[in-house]
Amino acid sequence: MSTDPGTRPTTPRRTLRWQAATVLGIRDEAPAVRTFTLGLEEPAHHLPGQYYVLRLTAEDGYTAQRSYSVASAPDGRPEIDLTVERLDDGEVSEFLHDVVVPGDVLEVRGPVGGWFAWTGDSPALLVGGGSGQVPLTAMLRHARAAGRPDLVRMILSVRTPSDLYYGDELHVPQVTPVFTRTAPDGSARPAGRLVLDDVAPLVRGGETAYVCGSPAFADAAAALLAEAGVPDDAIRIEQFGPTGS
């Protein structure tokens, strides 16, 4: 395998400045999952798959920073959507869910991450688990806005039907949901973890695969992709959340 950064998307090298981000709206997506729409003081173009760093500051100067993928497509609007899963005892996610209301001002900087980004002009296979839905949905939205939904195929592993984010937006032919705990009534596939038979039919050859989810999920999914014939150097991985390894 090879990593040739020269041929891969790279954002211009620049200093990332902190900017004010005003909370314009808050929406529920799934149990304990919310989308925050942030109005940016200095809007910047992002690629789907990139993320912003969010910073909270206490009166005494104590700060906490966390990264959140952009859920919205790069559509030129001066705002971004971040979708955050609330972790029990999570310093930042709990605060965002329990305290933040529209009108609050947070600080962010970005976009960050040039590697796990899709430029929108070549076939992509998107494989997500849990909050891995977030950056992959930005890619799906981008493909649709560009009139090229045919370029993406997406497979999402979630526990139950109510764990799918973004309302009906993911109920489209390009998206294959896989339910690990509870499958919808009458579905042919019983609830269970992602297996080769789920992934293999989506591999066409020549695509780049974007895998996002917990480290344990990402490892397992990348191994399935390799088994299904996707070359290692065509697999890009982003992991977040508590780890299993």
Binding site: S2, T15, L56, V99, D104, G114, W115, S245
Partner: protein
């Protein structure tokens, strides 16, 4: 100056070994990579020092195995916010390897690169003076493939993206030359105690 966030009190760091923004990964050793781990055959493995040196040197697996190793015990910190305390490592001091090649007086930086093509930049001063190793063992056993085996760089005083997995060599330079993540917005040095995560920190 950061702007105060309404209602945010925050949790204080609990352990003085934790740099700001880090959490204790405990017994876990998270594997965070952007690609699948390569399989490297030690028969064909090499480690090379080139660039601004008196003589470029390349070691094979057997040759490097004959060099004296030392032990380093301590904590490591990943930019993705986990830290791991009290690790046990062993490897060859980078000082010894560089001495064999003889950096020229103009040498001030290195680019460390991997057998998979990953690169990262470091000031020469951060890989000398007993602060960096070519590491083969961690926690009492050979480094696994996921953790960069058969050999990785170990620069424990900087964020761990500088400790190149599957390391292939060092290119010695007069000027700093950003590596893979650094071109994508990450900091050129990466001191965890100063939270040097991104350009401009």
């Amino acid at each position: 100056m950061p702007r105060v966030t309404r209602g945010f009190v925050g949790r204080r760091p609990r352990d003085s070994r934790l740099p700001p923004g880090q959490y204790d990964a405990g017994d876990q050793w998270p594997v965070l990579t952007a690609e699948r781990a390569p399989h490297l055959d030690t028969d064909r493995w090499t480690f090379r020092i080139e660039g601004l040196v008196e003589r470029e040197v390349e070691w094979t697996w057997d040759e490097i195995g004959a060099l004296p190793r030392e032990r380093w015990d301590g904590d490591i910190h990943c930019v993705t916010t986990w830290s791991k305390f009290g690790m046990r490592w062993s490897g060859i001091p980078v000082d010894d390897l560089l001495e064999a090649a003889g950096p020229l007086p103009r040498a001030r930086f290195v680019v460390a690169h991997s057998h998979s093509g990953y690169t990262t930049n470091l000031p020469l001063a951060d890989v000398t003076g007993g602060r960096a190793w070519l590491a083969f063992d961690a926690q009492g056993g050979p480094l696994t493939r996921e953790h960069g085996g058969p050999a990785r760089l170990l620069v424990p005083h900087l964020y761990f993206w500088k400790s190149v997995k599957w390391v292939a060599g060092l290119r010695v330079l007069a000027e700093d030359e950003p590596g893979f993540w650094e071109r994508n917005g990450y900091h050129d040095r990466g001191d965890p105690w100063r939270e040097q995560r991104f350009q401009g920190d």
